[in-house]
C-alpha cells in the first residue's frame, strides 16, 4: 500500500533571525534563536517538538536540541546532506514522518556564521565536505576553488547553446534586489540597475559580482506538523501539497555531468506537480534557489514553466518582479536577502500564503512553489497552498 503525502502535512511555524554579515553569535546560537521563534510562531512549546531535521552539519545536532530544549521524547531525527537542497528535501522527509505518525511536530532548523565568528568563505569551506571529494582531488589543485568557478561552465554552455545573455542574468538580480528593498530583514539595501550589473566586477566569467549570492550569517527554522494537528495551532494552515527530490546523474562534480545544463530538479518537478494535482498556471509565485542568477533561469526550464533554452527570454519584461506574471524570490532571495541555504525561501513562501508578507505580499496568493538546490545539482521542489 502506498499513501500520497498530498496535503497530509502543514508548515505550522516559521522563524528567522536578523540576517547580517559579521555576526558575533555562533551558528548554533543563531539556529536556536530562529528555532524558538518558529516554535512560538506555531503556538507550541519546545517540549512539544518530537522530530528534528538539522540542516547540514554546520551547527547544532539533534542531541544538542534534546539537551537544550529538555525534549522528553524525540521520536524522529534525520540528516539530509545535500547543501542548499536540504531544506526542501527536509519538507518531504518531515511530511512523511508526520503523515505516518512517526512523530507530530518536526523542527527543520539551520544556522550559520561564515563571516563573523568564523571567517570561512565558500572557496575554502566546500573542500572539507565529503560530497565534494572529486572536486577537491581533481579540480581544486588546478585553481577551481569556489562554487562560482564550478557553476560558471554550466552557465557558459547554456549561453553558447541557447543564446542566454548576461542581461538575462541581470534581470534575475534586479528582481531579487527590488524585492529585498521591500524587506526590512534583507541585507542588501540599495537598488541596482542593468548598468550596475554590466559594470560589476567579473568573478568567474560569465558570473559577475551581482550574479553571486551573499555570504551571510543567520538562522532560519520551520515546524512541520500533521494537517490534523496543525488545525489546533495558531496560524492559518499552509499545506505541503506536493514535494519531491531529484538528483542529477553524476552528482559529484559538474564536470562529469552527462548534460551539465540539466539538474536533479527536472526529475523532481514532475513528481511534485503530480502529487499536488496543480498545473503551472495555478502557481501564483515561486521562491527559487538562487545561489547564482543563472540557476534561477535554468530551474524555470527544468520545472516546466518554459522549454529548455527559453529561460532567458521567459523572464524578460519583468515576469519575475512583483506585479509580473510569476513573482520570484519575493524576499530578495540568496542574492539580496541572505544566504541560509534556502530555508529563507520556505519561510517566505509560508509568509506569502498566510498573507503576512507585508509590502511584498502577492495578492490572493493561493499556491506557491519553492525549490532547493545544492551541492552542484541535487534538487528538491515543494508546492504549498493555503
Amino acid at each position: 500500500m502506498s499513501i500520497s503525502l498530498r496535503d497530509q502535512a502543514c508548515v505550522s511555524g516559521i522563524g528567522e533571525t536578523i540576517y547580517m554579515r559579521g555576526s558575533s553569535s555562533s551558528a548554533f546560537e543563531l539556529q536556536i534563536e530562529s528555532s524558538l521563534s518558529a516554535i512560538a510562531d506555531a503556538g507550541l512549546s519546545p517540549k512539544d517538538i518530537d522530530g528534528i531535521i538539522p540542516i547540514g552539519i554546520v551547527s547544532g545536532t539533534a542531541d544538542d536540541f534534546i539537551e537544550n530544549f529538555g525534549m522528553p521524547d524525540l521520536r524522529f531525527s534525520a540528516l539530509i546532506p545535500h547543501g542548499g537542497a536540504s531544506p526542501v528535501m527536509a519538507l518531504q522527509c518531515a511530511a512523511a514522518a508526520v503523515a505516518t505518525g512517526a512523530c507530530n511536530h518536526v523542527l527543520i532548523t539551520f544556522g550559520r556564521n561564515v563571516t563573523g565568528v568564523s571567517n570561512n568563505r565558500a572557496g575554502a569551506r566546500i573542500h572539507g565536505m565529503p560530497q565534494f571529494h572529486y572536486v577537491t582531488e581533481f579540480e581544486y589543485p588546478i585553481g577551481a576553488a569556489a562554487p562560482a568557478q564550478l557553476y560558471a561552465p554550466m552557465a557558459r554552455r547554456h549561453m553558447e547553446l541557447y543564446g542566454t545573455t548576461s542581461d538575462h542574468f541581470a534581470e534575475v538580480a534586479i528582481a531579487c534586489r527590488e524585492h529585498a528593498l521591500l524587506n526590512d530583514n534583507a541585507i542588501m539595501k540599495k537598488p541596482i540597475t542593468l548598468e550596475d550589473h554590466r559594470n560589476s566586477r567579473m568573478i568567474s566569467d560569465p558570473f559577475r559580482l551581482l550574479d553571486c549570492s551573499l555570504e551571510s550569517d543567520g538562522g532560519a527554522a520551520i515546524v512541520v506538523s500533521s494537517a490534523e494537528r496543525a488545525a489546533d495551532l495558531r496560524q492559518k494552515k499552509v499545506y505541503i501539497s506536493g514535494v519531491a527530490e531529484g538528483h542529477p546523474d553524476m552528482p559529484g562534480s559538474i564536470t562529469q555531468r552527462p548534460d551539465m545544463t540539466s539538474l536533479g530538479i527536472a526529475k523532481a518537478a514532475r513528481r511534485a506537480f503530480e502529487m499536488a494535482q496543480v498545473s503551472h498556471a495555478d502557481v501564483d509565485l515561486v521562491e527559487l534557489y538562487d545561489c547564482f542568477t543563472y540557476v534561477v533561469i535554468r530551474q524555470l526550464e527544468d520545472l516546466g514553466f518554459c522549454k529548455k533554452g527559453e529561460g532567458g527570454p521567459f523572464i524578460e519584461g519583468g515576469r519575475l518582479r512583483l506585479g509580473g506574471e510569476l513573482p520570484c524570490n519575493t524576499h530578495g532571495g540568496l542574492l539580496s536577502q541572505a544566504h541560509v541555504w534556502g530555508l529563507n525561501h520556505v519561510v517566505e513562501l509560508v509568509r506569502q500564503l498566510r498573507g503576512q508578507a507585508g509590502r511584498a505580499q502577492v495578492r490572493d496568493a493561493r499556491v506557491g512553489l519553492v525549490t532547493g538546490y545544492g551541492d552542484m545539482g541535487d534538487g528538491a521542489v515543494a508546492i504549498l497552498r493555503n
Binding site: 581544486y140 589543485p141 585553481g143 561552465p153 568567474s204 564536470t255 551539465m260
Partner: protein
Amino acid sequence: MEVISKPVPQDVELSRPYWQAAARGELVLQRCSDCGKIRHYPRLLCDACHSRRSDFVPASGQGKVHSWTITHHVFHKAFAAEVPYALVTVDLAEGVRVLGRWDGGELSIGVPVQAYFNLTQSTPELRFRLA
C-alpha cells in the same frame, strides 16, 4: 613573506595510478576489466556492470571543448599571480570529461584540443592547448 602553496590532493588509493602516471606526464583513465567501460573520476564500481575489477589505460589526450570559465577573482592566494586564467571542460575522445587549465586562444564549444601535464607545479597540472 609567507608562501601560500597550491592545494595538493590527498593520497587516495583508488586514483593513485592516475596521479602516478600524471607525475610522468601521462594521462591514463580507469577502465572496467570486465566490460571495458572507461570511467572518470576513478571510482570503486563500474556503473554499467558493477564489477570492482579495473585497470588504467593510456588516453589519447585528444578532446573537444565542452565549456569553460575565465576566473578573475582570487579565491585562493596561491593563484593570485595567475588571474585571469581559464578553466576548460573537455570531452575526451575516450568518452569521459575532464577539467583542465587552458593555454589561451579563443574558446568555443567543439574546438579540438590536446591534453598535456605541466609538471612544474606541486601537483601535475592538466592543461589543454589547441589541437
